[in-house]
Symmetry: D2
Subunit: 371 residues, 4 copies
């Protein structure tokens, strides 16, 4: 297959992260042609041109639609603010381009549904950037679960916590507006749902409590404004197969910086993981003398594919940006018609539905099934 031609919309942090992935995927994996970095779009021409030089793209534009008509562009990375995802993704798919769109999928369920429809009718590859599932450690945990290493899963707990909303005296920001979404459900629950899907299965029914740690926040002019969404969410869940789970997310959790703490209990063992130490996981297996049983702390290494493509020795650590390179490799596989592991628009929509069901459950104080 000829080298893929890449278009990139948006050059903020995630745009940079996509650019790194496209730059590195051939060097890292060796088994794919080096992509051609064709066309980059950002809000004004000068800015876009500067980013193109930095990121190694051949052309730059202030008009993202220019990428749609660029015949050298095969796939478009969409890394703009959430409200633009639907319009851009649908236009790109309709123009015959493959799409790699950052999470969350869209700002409304209707938009997400239209995105899936566009992907389906286009026949193009369309995936959402849930890169945590690409961590070699996470992929290995999935493999272990599939092999039955801990038996049948009997319970799951997952927490995702950061503290960027923890300061009650931080100025009121758009993140606290209702228009930005539900709060922690949109910011964090979607990530944890992508991991649960990857490891165990989708949510089937949910019972939610939302928390608003601070009723209002200060305005620049000295007054205070009422907080309109929820920084905390705690959800009782039943996953596919009836597996009980608890999902807890909090973006006002002082001290947590990038925590995604996962506990999976099975009939023959347990798996434990914390994203703040993303290069290790723990496994407990019922084997050997009782007096030497305990959680094994396994450091990431070449046995956890595709860690080996990044570093040949164990215990030497991959980083956050490396996960995007893995995701990029999966996308290339998908475009090539090979098996791949990523959140396509169908799985992405299911995640969105789960989040909306969670919000509904809180509003109605009852268990809600995920449609």
């Amino acid at each position: 297959m000829a080298a893929i031609g890449v278009g990139l919309i948006g050059t903020g942090y995630m745009g940079k992260c996509h650019a790194l992935a496209w730059n590195n995927v051939a060097t890292i994996f060796g088994d794919v042609d080096r992509p051609r970095l064709v066309h980059l779009a950002d809000r004004n021409s000068e800015f876009a041109a500067a980013r193109a030089r930095e990121f190694g793209f051949a052309r730059a534009t202030a008009d993202w639609r220019a990428l749609l008509s660029d015949p050298e562009v095969d796939v478009i990375s969409i890394t703009t603010p959430n409200q633009f995802h639907a319009e851009m993704a649908i236009a790109a798919l309709d123009a015959g381009k493959h799409v790699w769109c950052e999470k969350p999928m869209a700002t409304s369920l209707a938009d997400a549904e239209r995105m899936l429809a566009a992907a389906t009718r286009s026949g193009r590859v369309a995936i959402i950037g849930y890169n945590y599932i690409q961590n070699p450690v996470m992929r290995h945990m999935r493999k272990l679960l599939e092999e039955g290493a801990i038996g049948t899963v009997t319970q799951v707990r997952i927490e995702m916590d950061e503290d960027f909303m923890a300061d009650p005296e931080a100025p009121f920001s758009p993140r606290s507006e209702k228009a930005s979404g539900y709060g922690a459900l949109d910011d964090f629950a979607v990530h944890t749902l992508s991991l649960l899907w990857s490891l165990v299965g989708h949510a089937r029914s949910v019972m939610t409590d939302l928390g608003k740690p601070y009723a209002d926040r200060p305005l620049a002019d000295g007054g205070r404004r009422t907080v309109e969404n929820h920084d905390q969410a705690s959800v009782l869940m039943r996953l596919e197969g009836g597996i009980p789970a608890v999902l807890m997310v909090n973006r006002a959790a002082w001290g947590r910086k990038g925590r995604i703490a996962l506990q999976i209990f099975g009939s023959a063992g347990a798996l434990v993981y914390d994203q703040e130490r993303m290069n290790e996981f723990q496994i407990y297996r019922v084997a050997g003398p009782t007096g030497e049983q305990g959680f094994v702390t396994v450091l990431a290494g070449p046995q956890h594919r595709p860690y080996d493509r990044f570093v040949p020795a164990p215990g030497h650590s991959l980083g956050f940006n490396d996960l995007k390179v893995v995701e990029c490799r999966e996308l290339v596989a998908a475009i090539s018609g090979e098996p791949f592991r990523a959140v396509d628009f169908a799985a992405g929509l299911r995640i969105e539905r789960s989040v909306h069901a969670m919000a509904q459950s809180f509003a109605e104080r009852r268990w809600v099934d995920v449609a």
Copy 2:
């Protein structure tokens, strides 16, 4: 005050633990008279006499009622199986004895209510053995919370997990019978509720999911018997003051041996604790340069009273049995009419009510207020 005369009913593990506490309280604390170990009761005379020799008690009996009429006995430790707690505690209180009864309070809510009534009418001291709250580390965390060290509490998560019911092929035991109670709610939730009460407050309303990891368990004769209660419980809660909390307990959690994991988030920091490392806690405070902020792991030491009574140097560890000595000292304080910190029958009943509300919530699939 004259040395207290002690009676002990039951000499299983908790009986031994009480005996150690009575033996050590004066040596450890130095500020109380050495109790007189007067009278010990167990099921038969010979066995009771042997235990009395080991534990240092002067007299032994196979009839626990003999303790009620023993004028040298001031206080009675009740460490028998749960179904005897109510009868013995009420009889002891009615006989004018103080009572130190092991948890859980009783096997029915009605019994627990009768116990509180007996305590009230007797005017005697009556406490339940929730010794985890006596850990110097836990007491220090309470002090920090009272001082506002982490600001206003915004969320609490508590987990208690062990794995003694984790093996699906372990023989069916009475613990899986409905008659033994709800399962994990009785075994573990009561402990976590005692900690929450001690640190933050009682539960006000609850929303529960119970989990039954294994539908049946093998019988000795080769068949299988249906499991009648739940090894897992997950509960969304609102505590006093409306603080959101999540309580998770699981007695089938492979790999967990004595885990009680606590996370308390506040407006100015966070506290983290795990009972499997009971000689340390973690605190995050918003102070100093951002680049050096993080969770502080504090090792137990003399500053965490009354650790200093056990060991003069920090980092040298107390053990589980030591917590009972602290509880014993609190009981002595209570008997002496001094301020004390322990779960009296009123607080104990509130814990029982919370557990029953949790079970009701699961049955009715709705939020239930704790009466």
Copy 3:
């Protein structure tokens, strides 16, 4: 065998610790007769009498020699300051009493040699209080080493660090006087040598560097006094069998409270331990799939004898004082003529010789063999 009659000299922290052990050994172990607490000595009569009441001793005296002639006393616990150990231990042994003497053995090598001679000629049991070797976790590690769980030992590293001398502006104390000994070598190296002996073997040759972090310390009157010994020691060693080892001790190590960090590498695995978390150890074994190999964190439990005598469930933690009860049980075994595991005066002397060889090595800047 009749119940042992106990004498105790000294009621400071270690005296209290011995008293607790004598009070608890029968209750904990159940297989020894409850010792009779006969006679307690401390500096003045009133003080001694008060301690005797607290600790449960029948008689008290200001003259420790009164214990020698007390026919009811079979064994004497010596917990006085180091300079009195030799005189008291020798007198006790010569009076036909068994001796349980706190570490370090003596303040001079000559005294230690005289103590061993007295023990030998008396035929009585004489042990030194190195209780860290009695930790069930440590005893289990020894068992694992004996079983070859990690193959042949190829290297050992041991560190012992605390911070009570870490503050450069803390007033000059007797601990910094040459008369008090070498410094960290006496305070800490002896402990680590007891552990090495227990696990792997005695030191055979040593090469030492000593460190003096602060040249002088402030005096109460405003001046400063030169520090006369060394708060730090680092030692290259060859143990019995030629095993290379490194021993590092530092009593001026900020942040360390009770750290004894041990790493034992073998041809088929490794063992790791840290006394600040004395209820766990780590083992790495070369077994199973490479992708799931790692250090297993094993929580102390009933399989690690005699943990089961203290608590029936794993993960519930023993404390520092519990180790003394185990040591007491070993002493009772020794007195009864049964096999026991403790540092007797012969092993104790070997530890003392090792420390003196370390000091000599530093003075002469060369490797020194331990006599």
Copy 4:
């Protein structure tokens, strides 16, 4: 300054790592022109051409000297086996190219000296690839030390351990031949010395013990061959300023995968780091209430420059390959005549001298000063 033209010799793991760095430095940092990847050399033309396509280099060659005469090449990355470093680096410098040479510097001290001489006479930038010092966490620790955050340094301990030589039955490899060097001293001690230099200072005098865990190893044909160098080294050291240090390295340490454990004790605190968790460090400071003092675990974040260039949020982890990008940015700074932090050939030679002094110390069983 015009974009730098890059030549790369060698395309094994470190060659790939350099290629990634050159590809990413502009995207990551944004403040340097995107380097031109000009010319790549490897052993045969076809192989080199394939790597050039993967890595994004314009030209490929089987003759590394072709890079010397390529006018578009400004700097040459040397990532070939160690024995070629000296010849290539000297030729490159003599041809007027800047040099980025992988560690270790050379296989003999004489070669290393000639390399430094070539660098000096050329006036070109010449650095050795010691990328661990570029970890933002490590750089922050250096900043803290410079600011006196833990007072005056009183002691340092550093360990570097892996287990790739731990299996006694792994076939004899060239790594066990004397010709390959001293063993652990060359493989690991140089890394730890680069860190010590970066944080505290060079070694001034050393006292070494080397260990050979296995006398021989199996040959493919069934016999066994004597091991000719040492997998373990333990070194007492005095650093610049007389600071006592202990350096321990072991490439036969089962269970260790990429451990570089560092402990720095100071008069007002301590710093602790472990490379296996390279995105965090620990700091203890004497401040605040004693009852809340402890080691703070700080997760890497934007405050630790230049972490912010990779990820904007804390707790999201950099990886091993990212460190090479930081080193590349330092190299670019050096070429631009700006201040930079990297191991230049002068510092690199000092590290080599230290290692040779360590070997001499072992041979002569005495302290040796580093020339």
